[in-house]
C-alpha cells in the first residue's frame, strides 16, 4: 500500500528495517496495541498505517496478549520533526480505554480518520 502510493521506495527494505526495530524489543506494548515503527532510508514520506485484527495476532507483547490494533509508523531518515508531536499525542491517547474502544468500533476508514482527528480533545 505504501509502495503503491510511492511513500516508500522498497517494501522489502522497509520491512527489514521494521524487523531490526522489533529485534531490539517487541513494539507490542500490551493493551492489544502494537506500533511497529522504523526510521528508514526506504521511506520517502512520513506515513502512518492503521490496521485492526479482531482476533488478534501474537506479537510478543509486554503483557503476553495478542495485538489487535496496529499503528505502523514509517519515518524517513531525515526531515521535518513536525509529525513527531502528533505521534507523541497518539501514543498517549492509546493508553486510554475509551480511545481504544472507539477504534474497535470504527466501521469505515473515515471513522478512523475522525477518531484520529479528535485526539487533541481527548483528556
Amino acid at each position: 500500500m505504501l509502495l503503491v502510493d510511492k511513500r516508500i521506495s522498497d517494501a522489502k527494505g522497509f520491512i527489514g528495517d521494521l524487523k531490526i526495530r522489533e529485534s531490539l524489543g517487541s513494539t507490542g506494548i500490551g493493551l492489544g496495541i502494537a506500533i511497529p515503527h522504523a526510521k528508514s532510508s526506504f521511506v520517502d514520506s512520513p506515513s502512518l498505517v492503521f490496521g485492526r485484527s479482531m482476533n488478534g495476532i501474537e506479537f510478543e507483547s509486554l503483557d503476553g496478549e495478542p495485538a489487535k490494533l496496529f499503528f505502523m509508523i514509517a519515518m524517513p531518515e531525515s526531515g521535518s520533526n513536525m509529525h513527531l508531536k502528533a505521534l507523541a499525542l497518539l501514543s498517549r491517547s492509546l493508553i486510554h480505554e475509551n480511545f481504544r474502544n472507539r477504534l474497535y468500533k470504527a466501521k469505515t476508514n473515515e471513522d478512523v480518520i475522525k477518531i484520529l482527528e479528535s485526539i487533541d480533545s481527548i483528556d
Partner: protein, 109 residues
C-alpha cells in the same frame, strides 16, 4: 501532596517514551500522588524537570532505554528501569517509591 519526578526515554523516541509517561501519570492520579514526567523523545526534551521539583520529590523514576542526564538526581532515592517497565507496571513503580524502597542515587562522575 506527595510528589514524584520521572524521566522517560526510548531508542527511537516516538512512541514508548510517551506511552510510559501517560501510564505513570494515570497510575499516579489513581494513587493520589503528584508526578511530573519529563519526556526525552525524538522531539527533544519536553517538560524538563525543574530543580525545585526534583528537590521537593520523594523519589525519582527513570524509565529509559536511552541516555538520560543523571547528575541532577544525586542524593535522591532513585530507580532505573527500562521504559517497558513503566508501561507494564506503572502502579508498582509508584507504590515502591511511596514505600521508600529505592536506593539513594550517587553519581560516579
Amino acid at each position: 501532596m506527595i510528589k514524584i519526578v520521572a524521566v522517560t526515554a526510548c531508542p527511537t523516541g516516538i512512541a514508548h517514551t510517551y506511552m510510559a509517561a501517560e501510564m505513570l501519570e494515570k497510575a499516579a492520579k489513581k494513587l493520589n500522588v503528584k508526578i511530573i514526567v519529563e519526556t526525552n523523545g525524538a522531539i527533544g526534551v519536553e517538560n524538563r524537570l525543574k530543580q525545585k521539583d526534583i528537590e521537593e520529590s520523594i523519589a525519582v523514576i527513570i524509565a529509559a532505554d536511552a541516555r538520560v542526564d543523571m547528575q541532577r538526581f544525586n542524593g535522591k532515592p532513585l530507580i532505573e528501569v527500562g521504559v517497558s517497565q513503566a508501561i507494564k507496571n506503572p502502579t508498582k513503580l509508584i507504590q515502591d517509591a511511596l514505600s521508600n524502597l529505592y536506593p539513594i542515587y550517587k553519581n560516579e562522575n
